[in-house]
C-alpha cells in the first residue's frame, strides 16, 4: 500500500515553489505550495502535510514563527528550513523549535529529497 507523502512548500519566491513542486511531483509526492504565512497556516490545518519545507525570511510572519505554529498544529510534521542566510542564532532557534534540518540556498534537490524521504542527513 503506497501512501503518498504530502509536502507543503512555503517560500515567498514563486519560482522556487514551482521548481520544488515540479521535482517532487515527479518523484510521486503530493505537493502544496504557497508564498506567505497566512496561506501556509491554512494549508497546514486543511491538508495536514507530512513534510514542511519552509523559507525563513518572508514578509509578514517569518519562517521561525510559522515553524512554531506548525509544530503546535502537528508536532510530528517534519520541518526543513530553507533559507538564503545561515545565521548561527536562527539555526539554533529553529532546531530548538523542532526543525529537523536546515539548508541554504541554492540547495541540492537530491539531498533535499533524501531528507524528505526520511534518509539520515546532517544539517548543512
Amino acid at each position: 500500500m503506497l501512501v503518498q507523502k504530502k509536502i507543503l512548500v512555503v517560500d515567498d519566491e514563486p519560482d522556487i515553489c514551482n521548481s520544488l513542486r515540479k521535482y517532487f511531483r515527479d518523484k510521486g509526492y503530493v505537493v502544496f505550495t504557497c508564498c506567505e504565512a497566512g496561506a501556509a497556516l491554512d494549508l497546514l490545518n486543511k491538508e495536514k502535510p507530512d513534510v514542511l519545507i519552509l523559507d525563513i525570511f518572508m514578509p509578514g510572519l517569518n519562517g521561525i514563527e510559522v515553524l512554531r505554529i506548525a509544530k503546535e498544529i502537528n508536532k510530528d510534521v517534519k520541518v526543513i528550513m530553507l533559507t538564503a542566510i545561515k545565521d548561527e542564532f536562527i539555526v539554533k532557534e529553529a532546531l530548538n523549535l523542532g526543525a529537523s534540518f536546515y539548508m541554504t540556498k541554492p540547495f541540492n534537490l537530491d539531498a533535499l529529497e533524501k531528507v524528505v524521504s526520511g534518509g539520515k542527513g546532517s544539517v548543512e
Partner: protein, 551 residues
C-alpha cells in the same frame, strides 16, 4: 482647390548651403519651403506663415534650435506643429536634451549626404505631416523682446526644477547611506522625519506605524507636534486623513483648507496648515504605516511633483522599515552595523533566483539523457554554487566579528597576501619592491582582517597599472604607530575624489561595487589606526596604513 493643399515646411539653419540643399530637395518632393537663419527668425516666420512642419538646426546665432523648439512647443498656438531637429550634435546628452525640448524627432545631419539618407528624412516628414490639418495661426506675431523674455522664463523654470531634483537625489543618496547604518526602529523613524524636514520644507509632520495587533496607527516620530499630543495620538483605520489613506492605500494631496474636501470637511482643521501630503507606506503590498507632511501659511502649498517625490520616498522608506523589523526580530546577535542590512538583503535577493536557476538545472539534469546537456546542467549548478560562495564571503565579512585578535607579524601578512596575487601581478608586468625592516613591531589584530586590507590595496594598485608599473611596499615606525606604505606608479586619483574613495559604493571602475576601500578603512579605524592617501595624476598613488603597535 487641390485635394491635398501643398504642405509648407520651414527650414531653419544658419548655413546657407544647408538651407539651399534642403530647400532644393523638399521643393522637388512637392513641398513649399520657407527659410530662416536663426531661432528667433524661425519663431517669427512660424507665426507669420503657419508651416506644417519645422526642420531646425541646433547651432544658430541669436537663439539655438533647442530654445526655439521649447518656445513653440510651449505655446498652444504652435505646439501642434511637428519639429524635426537636424544636427551634427549627436552625443547622447545632446539627443536627450533635444528630445526633452519637445521635438518629435532628432536626426543626424549626415543623412543629407546621400540618397538613402534623404529618403529617411522624407519618410519621417511624411509620417509627421500626415493627417495634420493646416492650421492658420491667427493673432499677433510676438515681438522679438517678447520672444526672448518668454524663452528666458521658460529656461529659468527648467533650471530651477532640475536643481531641486538634483538636490533631492543627493539627499536621497545621503539618506540611503544613513539608513544602512541605522538599526533601532525609533532611530530609523527619526531619521526619516529629519530627511522629510530637509527635503520637503515642512512645518510639521508625523510618521505613523500600523500596529498590527490593534489595527491602529500610532505616531512613532514627529516634527512640529507637541510631544504629548504625538504620544497619545492613535488613529483607527478609516479615521481622519491618515486613517483614510491607510484604509484605501492611496496618497492624498490637500491644499487650501479642509472644507474644500467633502470627505474631510467635518474635521476640525488646524487653521494655520495651508497644505498637506499624506502617503501610505507600503512594502510588498502590505501597509506599514502612513507619512504625513504639512506646510503652514503663508508657504506655497505642495504641488504634484512634491507628491510624486514623497511617494517614491515612501516606497523606499516602507521597505527600510520592513527590513528593519525582520532583521531586528530574527537576528539576535549584536547590532549588524554599517553593512549588515545591505549584505543580508543582497544575500536574500541574489540567492533566491540562484536557487531557482540551480533547481531548474538540476531538474534538467534529471530529465535529460544526452551527455552534452547533462554536462551543461552540471556547469550551471556548479557556477550557481560559486556565486553563492561569493555571497557567503561578503556576508561573513559584514557580520559582527568575533574578536580573535592576536599579535600579527606584518611581514608575514604581506608575504601571504602577495602570494595570492603574485602570478597575476607578474603577468601584468608589475614589479613589487619590498622595503620592510626585519624586526617590524607587531600589531594586535585578526590576521584575516589585516590580510584583507593589504589585499584590497594591492589589488587597487594593480588595477591602476594596466600596462605595468611598480608597487613599492615599505614601512616606518612613527611614535607608537607603524606606517605601512603602498606606493604605486599607476594613473593616480583626482584630488576631488581623494576624500570620496573611502565612502561606500564609490568607484570609478567598471567592475566592482566600490566597497573595498570603505571596508578596509572601517577595519583599520576599528583597530585604532587610520589610512592616509596622496596621489598625483599620471604619476601614482600612495596609501599609508597606520596601526598602533601591539603587545
Amino acid at each position: 482647390m487641390p485635394e491635398h493643399a501643398q504642405k509648407k515646411i520651414l527650414v531653419a539653419d544658419d548655413s546657407p548651403t544647408a538651407r539651399e540643399i534642403l530647400k532644393g530637395f523638399l521643393e522637388k518632393e512637392g513641398f513649399q519651403v520657407t527659410l530662416a537663419s536663426d531661432g528667433i527668425e524661425a519663431i517669427e516666420k512660424t507665426y507669420a506663415e503657419s508651416p506644417d512642419l519645422l526642420i531646425l538646426d541646433i547651432t544658430m546665432p541669436r537663439m539655438k534650435g533647442y530654445q526655439a523648439c521649447r518656445f513653440l512647443k510651449r505655446n498652444k498656438v504652435t505646439s501642434d506643429i511637428p519639429i524635426i531637429m537636424l544636427t551634427v550634435k549627436m552625443e547622447k546628452e545632446d539627443v536627450l536634451w533635444g528630445k526633452d525640448s519637445g521635438a518629435e524627432d532628432y536626426l543626424n545631419k549626415d543623412i543629407l549626404s546621400n540618397e538613402p539618407g534623404f529618403k529617411v528624412l522624407l519618410s519621417r516628414i511624411q509620417e509627421l505631416i500626415q493627417g495634420k490639418e493646416a492650421k492658420n495661426i491667427s493673432g499677433l506675431i510676438p515681438s522679438q523682446e517678447e520672444i526672448l523674455s518668454l524663452v528666458n522664463d521658460l529656461l529659468d523654470e527648467e533650471l530651477r526644477k532640475s536643481r531641486i531634483l538634483a538636490l533631492r537625489l543627493g539627499s536621497l543618496f545621503e539618506l540611503s547611506n544613513k539608513l544602512f547604518k541605522v538599526v533601532g526602529r525609533e532611530e530609523l523613524c527619526q531619521q526619516i522625519m529629519n530627511v522629510c524636514l530637509k527635503l520637503m520644507d515642512i512645518d510639521s509632520g508625523s510618521l505613523m506605524i500600523l500596529d498590527l495587533l490593534e489595527n491602529k496607527l500610532r505616531i512613532v516620530s514627529s516634527f512640529g507636534i507637541a510631544q504629548k499630543i504625538a504620544q497619545d495620538s492613535v488613529v483607527d483605520m478609516g479615521e481622519n486623513i491618515a486613517g483614510w489613506v491607510a484604509q484605501h492605500k492611496k496618497p492624498l494631496l490637500l491644499s487650501g483648507g479642509l472644507d474644500k474636501y467633502p470627505l474631510f470637511a467635518h474635521l476640525a482643521s488646524r487653521s494655520n496648515i495651508s497644505s498637506s501630503i499624506s502617503v501610505p507606506l507600503i512594502a510588498g503590498d502590505r501597509l506599514k504605516g502612513v507619512l504625513n507632511l504639512n506646510r503652514n501659511q503663508p508657504k506655497t502649498g505642495f504641488n504634484e511633483e512634491d507628491l510624486e517625490f514623497v511617494m517614491t520616498l515612501a516606497n523606499y522608506l516602507a521597505s527600510a522599515i520592513e527590513k528593519d523589523k525582520l532583521y531586528n526580530e530574527l537576528i539576535q546577535s549584536e547590532k549588524m552595523g554599517a553593512l549588515g542590512y545591505f549584505a543580508s538583503g543582497m544575500a536574500h535577493e541574489v540567492r533566491n533566483p540562484l536557487a531557482v536557476i540551480s533547481a531548474e538545472a538540476q531538474y534538467i539534469l534529471k530529465k535529460e539523457r544526452g551527455q552534452e546537456l547533462q554536462e551543461s546542467s552540471r556547469v550551471i549548478v556548479k557556477q550557481s554554487e560559486r556565486i553563492s560562495e561569493i555571497i557567503e564571503r561578503l556576508l561573513n565579512f559584514c557580520r559582527p566579528r568575533k574578536k580573535k585578535d592576536e599579535l600579527v607579524d606584518l611581514n608575514a601578512a604581506i608575504e601571504e597576501t602577495l602570494k595570492l596575487v603574485s602570478h597575476s601581478i607578474k603577468l601584468d608586468r608589475i614589479q613589487v619592491i619590498k622595503n620592510l625592516p626585519k624586526n617590524m613591531p607587531k600589531v594586535t589584530a585578526s590576521i584575516s582582517e589585516i590580510e584583507e586590507v593589504f589585499l584590497n590595496l594591492i589589488v587597487n594598485a594593480h588595477q591602476a597599472m594596466p600596462g605595468g608599473g611598480s608597487l613599492e611596499i615599505s614601512a616606518e615606525v612613527k611614535d607608537k604607530f607603524i606606517g605601512i606604505r603602498f606606493s604605486d606608479s599607476g594613473k593616480g586619483i583626482y584630488q576631488e575624489n581623494l576624500r570620496a574613495i573611502f565612502e561606500p559604493f564609490f568607484t570609478t571602475k567598471m567592475k566592482g561595487i566600490g566597497l573595498g576601500l570603505f571596508i578596509s578603512n572601517q577595519i583599520i579605524l576599528s583597530l585604532g589606526g587610520w589610512i592616509d592617501v596622496s596621489s598625483t595624476i599620471g604619476k601614482g598613488t600612495t596609501f599609508i596604513i597606520y596601526l598602533p603597535q601591539g603587545g
